[in-house]
């Protein structure tokens, strides 16, 4: 059973974005100088794939990281978890802003891994520009089944079993392969640590790169991107000092004043 996990990485959230912008004359984001990490959802999707592999010898895991050479360090970090195969797909110029184009490219990436994918896993958000469109867009573009925001995945008799939480209800869904599943973070899918031995091996191994097909001009054009200051919020910004007991008394009074009439 072929499991493909698609990874995008994000700019390290602790890093300042001051230099973020478009490459002059293009619709491509210039962020190659900023350090990259796997996002929590990349990590959750990768761990989910590794657990499926650990549970079933018939599962083959291919990990695909999108991006250019700036992502090679991240690909090596992924390879250290010993998926059956790991490759980088694309180049720094590949833009995933137009979902229809992105879905086509991601479909090609999956096909570069296998002609018969059973399960494609990806994070609930794919990289820094996606808010959850790309996974369902890929499923629709390929005619594959879809489940969004799962946090636990199991394979049973060729069927895919998915746990997810929606509002106040927990759901267990069944999907027949091939399916795209987007993964959200949970305690059960926190990424394990790789063996140091495998980290060293991955550091020396060559990086496999698959070139993307040429994409048609996107219907949705990225015109500008820039860092923005934190949203303005009202608020007194009063920070209490002094003995904690007095601070707590003041907080209690604040809460009483805020909640009278409410309860």
């Amino acid at each position: 059973m072929q499991v493909v996990v698609l990874l995008a990485g994000v700019v390290d959230p602790k890093w300042r974005l001051g230099t973020l912008g478009l490459r002059p004359g293009t619709a491509q984001v210039e962020d190659t100088a900023l350090p990259r990490k796997l996002s929590p959802f990349d990590e959750a999707a990768l761990e989910t794939a590794l657990q499926l592999r650990d549970a079933d010898a018939a599962v083959t895991v291919t990990a695909i990281l999108t991006g250019g050479a700036e992502s090679d360090g991240l690909l090596r970090a992924v390879a250290a978890f010993r998926p059956h195969r790991a490759f980088r797909f694309g180049d720094a110029a590949m833009s995933l802003w137009d979902p229809a184009t992105a879905a086509r490219l991601l479909g090609a990436a999956v096909r570069a891994a296998t002609e018969a994918p059973a399960l494609v896993l990806m994070g609930r958000e794919f990289g820094d520009s996606d808010d959850g469109v790309l996974a369902p867009a890929l499923a629709e573009a390929e005619g594959w089944a879809f489940c969004g925001l799962a946090h636990r995945v199991a394979l049973r008799d060729g069927d895919i079993l998915l746990h997810r939480t929606r509002g106040a209800r927990d759901e267990i869904l069944h999907r027949r392969p091939p399916a795209v599943v987007s993964i959200t973070n949970e305690r059960g899918n926190r990424l394990r640590h790789p063996l140091m031995k495998n980290v060293m091996l991955a550091r020396r191994a060559p990086v496999e790169v698959v070139a993307p097909p040429t994409a048609p001009p996107p219907a949705l054009a990225l015109r500008a991107i820039a860092a923005v200051p934190p949203a303005q919020r009202g608020g007194a910004g009063r920070v209490l000092t002094g003995p904690v007991a007095a601070q707590v008394e003041e907080l209690a009074a604040y809460l009483r004043a805020s909640t009278t009439g409410a309860a």
Binding site: G132, E140, D170, L222, G234, V244, V248
Partner: protein
Amino acid sequence: MHDLCALIPLGDPSVADPFAAVAAAAAIAARSGGRVRAILLGRVPDADAIAAAERDGATDILSAAHAGLSEPPQAEHLLAAFEHLLAAETADTLFLLPAGAVGEELAARLAIRLRGVPLGRCTSLDRDGGQVTARRASHGGRAEARLTTQAPRCFASLRRPAAAPAAPGAARREIMLDCPLPNDVPPPEIRHTAGEQARRLEGARIVVTGGRGMAGAEGFALLRDLAALLDAATGASLPAVDAGWASVGQQVGQSGAFVTPDLYLAFALSGTAQHLAGIGLNARIVAVNSDPEAEIFRVADLGLVAPWQEVVPELIERLRAR
């Protein structure tokens, strides 16, 4: 110029504010003109839903009912029914769906099925001639992107705008649908989570949230006691969910619930952009953090520089004594 049409799935309590899409469409129309259509889709005709859509500014309401829909409806069924309803749609249209897991999945899938452009969750949308301009948050809310398209059909999800224009009154039409719904996707097994999510984050007037600094499930148990005293919902930052101290449904932020309480009590969380992205701008934030340099104090109405261990038990005691 693109028409505006809100697509409203009914019958799923996890869609916290289905008519947000109508209000968002009305706000766009107030800026750039045009009528605001709303298509409501549910298992049975719903007079309350029609009234709500009208209140939020719809001028043409189509209420469509399909007896084959379950409650809550399956995404695949909603997709088939909306696809059927939109088949006759020829005019250039900007379709709006309510922000949240359900609306966002529907927007993305409908767009690809109907060869439109999915715009994702937008912070603002403008139409000018044949062009649609969308603004979206990226990089965890630390950056903003501006995107344009000439595509005739666009699909976006939006949150309820801060200010609502006056509702002009609506023309209403009701239809019963009997288009085939796919029967190859089994319905989910549904379990209602007990206890801790009894109070929904969305819609709560007070939210009590814990972060990584809570350092364990015991601290979260105390936060739940505090929340019970305040009739508040309990939330968590991503690391707290990862640690298993709170459930996935309690995550607040860019990648979790968007909450709009009056009061947001933040314990032992640092106040990253990704977390603040899940808190409405009108919420007053109260922060308790042992680090006086914590970012959260920059956005707090009231801050306590103290370890939560010295604050929470005592606060509970004082509130009990009131």
